[in-house]
């Protein structure tokens, strides 16, 4: 069935305007970072702002192309696009150029291109196509695994470049799977494992174990529905570790804090198990089990990292995590970034007046740390506005996704939402010190042709799909 409708009247102009605003605002900030009074002619491609303007032009042309394409085509080309992006990821591993020790770039003459960006689009399309297929239900285990495989394949290829930031972006697609019916606990589980993994590498064993222990006791008392259990467990833990220390103090045996902690946690958990058996409470056994597994996981990751891996592999992981790649020490980026944003104050220092921006105190400022310039030159008003616009865009996209009649359009829409949201949360989170520094760009604002083009294609394919939502039922 086909209805003739006017594409332009059905286009969601609200989203388009937000997009145009973000791109224009991003360009202004890139200009602020890179402009210098003695730059000479504006029209030189060595200036980042000129280069970015060129990319914006290309994006506008691509938007036009997308609107000329029949929207049914996107579903048909989903797998070919995915296949092509996998092909590019394989190519980049062979002929790629390393920047910052990651082999992520394909150089085509003066233009460099990042296949990992393009792969986000390919994966979102392929996943939407797969999940919208007849008889595919994400509630079924084999479909869950197939979906995870579609995500994991490109993610793996990017991980060995290595580009940790871009890799974990693919994890964002779990949000889309969740919307389509993935059991909630799987999402929570994967998030927790990821958090634990990061925590093990970034914190000391003692801190990780303490947090695990504390978390375990809290969960135990919540599941057991007895707040008193929490206090009693703490008392037992205190008494046990106290006597342990007392014994070691009177030189019965020597000890380390970590041993005291382990012994205490072991004792408390065994007491907890007995309590579970006697009172016959449901679910708490699972908590204790999960706790043991976490500790096992902690030790195996730690062992793997420190004993199995070679020095250079360790360094690679650290570089991947951005832990030791910083010339001025790990904290430098975040500190300078916070100084830049914090010094903006309420109303900002004004366009082109940011000293942190101007004098390049923040590394990667036109790419991953572009938000610093927003914060410094436009102040709280500017950064507040930007967060507001981003949130509006994402919420608007949810509304659009929910009004789709076709499964492909809706699922693809959530793919776009998931990826944009993840970039937004991680990027701004790291510039204001709420998240570890993982180098991924802020969509539409950060400098970089590949990412701008990819996000534009991603967004406008969805807008195009939305514009014909009434015309087709795919």
């Amino acid at each position: 069935m086909r209805r003739q409708i006017n594409i332009l009247t059905n286009t969601d102009w609200f989203t388009v305007i937000l997009y145009l605003f973000l791109v224009a605002f991003g360009w202004l900030n890139i200009f602020a970072v890179n402009y210098s009074p003695d730059d000479g002619s504006f029209f030189k491609l060595e200036h980042r702002y000129t280069m970015q303007l060129l990319w914006i032009m290309i994006c506008l042309i691509m938007i036009l192309v997308i609107f000329l394409i029949d929207s049914r085509l996107f579903s048909f080309i989903a797998y070919p696009v995915y296949g092509f992006s996998i092909f590019l990821l394989l190519v980049v591993l062979i002929i790629g150029t390393a920047i910052h020790s990651s082999k992520s770039w394909i150089m085509l003459g003066p233009v460099s291109f990042q296949p990992s960006e393009f792969a986000k689009l390919g994966t979102a399309l392929a996943l939407a196509r797969y999940l919208s297929g007849y008889n595919v239900k994400i509630t079924q285990t084999k479909h869950v695994f197939a979906s995870l495989a579609i995500i994991a394949f490109p993610a793996f290829l990017i991980m060995i470049q290595p580009d940790f930031g871009s890799t974990i972006v693919f994890g964002a697609l779990l949000l889309m799977l969740y919307r389509e019916g993935l059991p909630g606990w799987i999402l929570i589980f994967i998030v927790l494992v990821a958090v634990l993994f990061l925590a093990i590498l970034m914190l000391t064993q003692f801190v990780v174990l303490s947090i695990l222990g504390g978390l375990g006791i809290v969960l135990f008392s919540v599941v057991a529905r007895k707040p008193l259990v929490f206090i009693i467990a703490l008392l037992i833990a205190g008494a046990f570790s106290g006597s342990y220390y007392a014994l070691s103090y009177y030189s019965v045996f020597e000890t380390k804090n970590i041993y005291v902690l382990l012994a205490t946690l072991g004792f408390v958990s065994i007491v907890g198990l007995f309590y579970t058996l006697i009172k016959k409470i449901k679910g708490t056994t699972l908590i204790v089990l999960a706790f043991y597994l976490s500790i096992g996981f902690t030790y195996s990751v730690d062992y793997l990292f420190h004993n199995v891996m070679k020095e250079h592999q360790r360094n690679r992981v650290n570089v991947m995590l951005g832990l030791e790649s910083d010339p001025y020490g790990y904290e430098y980026n975040v500190r300078q970034s916070k100084i830049a944003i914090g010094s903006g104050g309420f109303a900002g220092k004004g366009f082109l007046k940011g000293t942190q921006t101007k004098f390049r105190f923040v590394p990667e400022q036109s790419t991953d740390f572009i938000f610093c310039t927003v914060g410094e030159e436009w102040g709280f008003l500017g950064s507040f506005g930007l967060v507001l616009i981003y949130a509006s865009l994402l919420i608007r996209l949810i509304i659009l996704a929910e009004r789709q009649r076709s499964g492909f359009s809706r699922i693809y829409g959530y793919g776009v939402i998931s990826i944009l949201f993840f970039h937004f949360a991680v990027n701004i989170g790291m510039t204001i010190g709420l998240f570890p520094v993982i180098g991924i760009p802020l969509p539409f604002l950060s400098y970089g042709g590949s990412s701008l083009l990819t996000f534009t294609l991603m967004l406008f394919i969805f807008i195009r799909l939305d514009s014909t939502r009434k015309a087709y039922l795919i």
Partner: protein, 608 residues
């Protein structure tokens, strides 16, 4: 509605929650917390110190003695470094490659180290060579300072020298920062506050690599450097130089004072050294050499050496005796080649006898002054030796003895006139009397004075009873007055009328046959003088002479000490008379040229 549609609310909720967390965090970062603003400012600001040139130093006639030369320190901006010809640079700088590498490493490792120069005080030649080739060495730049340069390489003991401050100086005066220069001794030290000027500060914007990006807030917080004030010394550069030339083969001192103002015309401490030695990169090396020299060229003999005054002390005793009516101008004493009394024997030389006071000064008769001193100390009016002694000592103190005069030079010594308690300790209370301390009569024994104090004594006699504290600075630019202690007239405790006989005696000592200092006689100028011999337990006695001229309306008062010169008349008197002649007539009369020649050709340093 399909099964999982309500999950849109959860996803939307997560998005809104993250947005809210960001906004709250941003509010705290940007609006509540203000520390980040300060951090951003200190990040991007660099203070540069602008060093003013030190004030210039002129002599009393406006002759320039000390000025400044620019000096360049070589610094590195580590992030502007590019590849360069290391070997060539090392050759120009005359350092080895390893040192250069170490320096580059040092500034690269610590961001603050880049302010420390890699080489201080480049020589003008090196600077010239480097400046020409600077384009070849990006990342190297110069910072400018000034160093002392001496137009006349004289008066090192007066001028002192300039050095780098240490941590104690910084603690004492917060004006200073590490790397600053300040006057260490001499006038440079005493007038440091005027000579140094005020450092200026310039705030520059810098980027993360320390590169300059213009001035901070259009220079709103910059302060200009204030030039140091110029200083005019009381010194006559030509006379000073002449004195240094005369003393070049001797150890000792010349002090010349303008009697009616207290202005020091020349202050020669010998051996001297060239002030240019203690400037710049060579300073520390040269200081060590000078410091280890056994003749102690760094020691200021004029203000720090203590000698017994010898017979130059006789006029002091004469004045005191007259004031206390112990003797009159007509009192005569016999002298039989010395003074003999109850176990005391003080020899004298052959001269007519008996003598009155005036002729006793002319012939420097020891016996006369022993008698005179006994009369003072045993004066029954005081009812005891101690009281009479204290009274005598009081007159001496009024003439500037036993304490530093207060010249504007650091470390001036005060000399020594014992208090009665000193003798009580040695001889027991009440067990000493005039004869016990009779050597004080002729300026020997326990009494110690500086050459400056003897010059001041000559000025007091020239002025017939008053003096101004000797001083070295006549004028400070933009101040127009000098310290009031130098313009306060000190009237001594001797009546003016008593000076006539002393002055006449000193006139006869120089100008009348039989006088002890005939060699100092000048045909046109009436020089009044008194010879002395300062006893030296370690070897040959020191030659001492004090004089002033002309007799009426005196223009100059001088003291000369020549160590191991034995008699006052052998070295000190001729040198003093040459100084006086040079100052008053600007030349040496042909009939006195032989004296000058002899002084220049003799050498007492070889004796050592």
């Amino acid at each position: 509605m399909e099964q999982f549609a309500n999950r849109k609310n959860i996803i939307g909720g997560i998005i809104l929650l993250v947005g809210l967390i960001f906004i709250v965090r941003l509010f705290f970062l940007q609006v509540v917390n203000s520390t980040y603003k300060l951090s951003a400012e200190s990040n991007t600001r660099r203070m540069e110190i602008v060093y003013p040139a030190r004030g210039l130093i002129y002599d009393r006639n406006g002759i320039l003695i000390a000025h400044n030369l620019p000096s360049y320190d070589l610094k590195i901006a580590p992030y502007e470094l590019e590849e360069f010809d290391t070997a060539q640079l090392c050759e120009i700088l005359n350092i080895d490659i390893q040192k250069l590498r170490d320096e580059i490493k040092r500034v690269k490792q610590n961001r603050n180290e880049r302010f420390n120069p890699i080489i201080k005080q480049l020589s003008p030649e090196t600077f010239g060579k480097l400046k020409e080739r600077q384009y070849k060495y990006p990342g190297f730049y110069f910072s400018i300072r000034t160093l002392r340069k001496y137009k006349r390489e004289i008066a090192s003991h007066i001028l002192g020298y300039v050095g780098e401050v240490d941590s104690n100086d910084i603690k004492r005066d917060p004006y200073y920062e590490l790397g600053d220069y300040y006057g260490v001794t001499g006038v440079e030290y005493e007038y440091e506050k005027f000579l140094r000027g005020e450092k200026g500060r310039k705030y520059k914007l810098i980027d993360v690599h320390g590169r300059e990006k213009g001035s901070y807030k259009d220079g709103k917080f910059d302060t200009d450097a204030v030039l140091g004030r110029n200083i005019v010394l009381t010194i006559d550069a030509d006379l000073q130089e002449y004195g240094e030339t005369l003393m070049k083969n001797y150890c000792g001192s010349i002090v010349a004072i303008e009697p009616n103002t207290g202005e020091v015309l020349a202050l020669v401490s010998a051996p001297s050294y060239n002030p240019s030695l203690l400037v710049g990169r060579e300073r520390e090396k040269n200081y060590k050499i000078l410091d280890s020299d056994t003749l102690e060229p760094l020691f200021n003999y004029s203000t720090q050496a203590l000698y017994p005054p010898g017979s130059t002390f006789k006029p002091v005793n004469a004045l005191t005796a007259l004031q206390e009516n112990a003797v009159s101008t007509s009192t005569t004493y016999y002298c039989d080649l010395g003074y003999y009394a109850r176990g005391v024997k003080i020899g004298c030389h052959s001269h007519p006898s008996p003598l009155d006071l005036e002729h006793a000064i002319q012939h420097s008769c020891n016996a006369y002054f022993c008698n005179l001193f006994r009369k003072i100390i045993e004066d029954p009016d005081f009812g005891g030796v101690e009281a009479a002694y204290l009274n005598w000592r009081g007159h001496l103190v009024s003439m500037g003895f036993s304490k530093p005069l207060g010249i504007d030079l650091p470390f001036e010594k005060g000399g020594f006139i014992p208090l009665p308690s000193y003798y009580d300790r040695y001889y027991g209370s009440g067990r000493w009397k005039a004869l016990t301390i009779i050597s004080m009569a002729i300026g020997q024994g326990e009494v110690l004075t500086t050459p400056l104090q003897i010059a001041n004594l000559a000025a007091i006699i020239a002025n017939r009873g008053y003096y101004y504290t000797p001083h070295l600075v006549k004028h400070i630019e933009r101040i127009d007055t000098i310290d009031s202690k130098f313009t306060t007239k000190h009237v001594v405790s001797i009546d003016t009328s008593y000076f006539k006989v002393v002055v006449d005696g000193m006139d006869k000592a120089v100008n009348v046959s039989g006088g002890t200092a005939l060699i100092a006689r000048h045909r046109e100028i009436v020089i009044c003088g008194k010879t002395g011999t300062a006893q030296n337990p370690h070897g040959i006695d020191h030659s001492v002479f004090m004089a002033f001229a002309p007799k009426d309306n005196p223009q100059i008062a001088v003291s000369v000490y020549v160590e191991h010169g034995e008699w006052g008349s052998s070295y000190a008197a001729p040198i003093a008379s040459l100084m006086i002649e040079k100052y008053l007539t600007d030349t040496i009369a042909p009939y006195r040229k032989w004296i000058e020649k002899r002084m220049l050709e003799s050498n007492l340093l070889k004796v050592e």
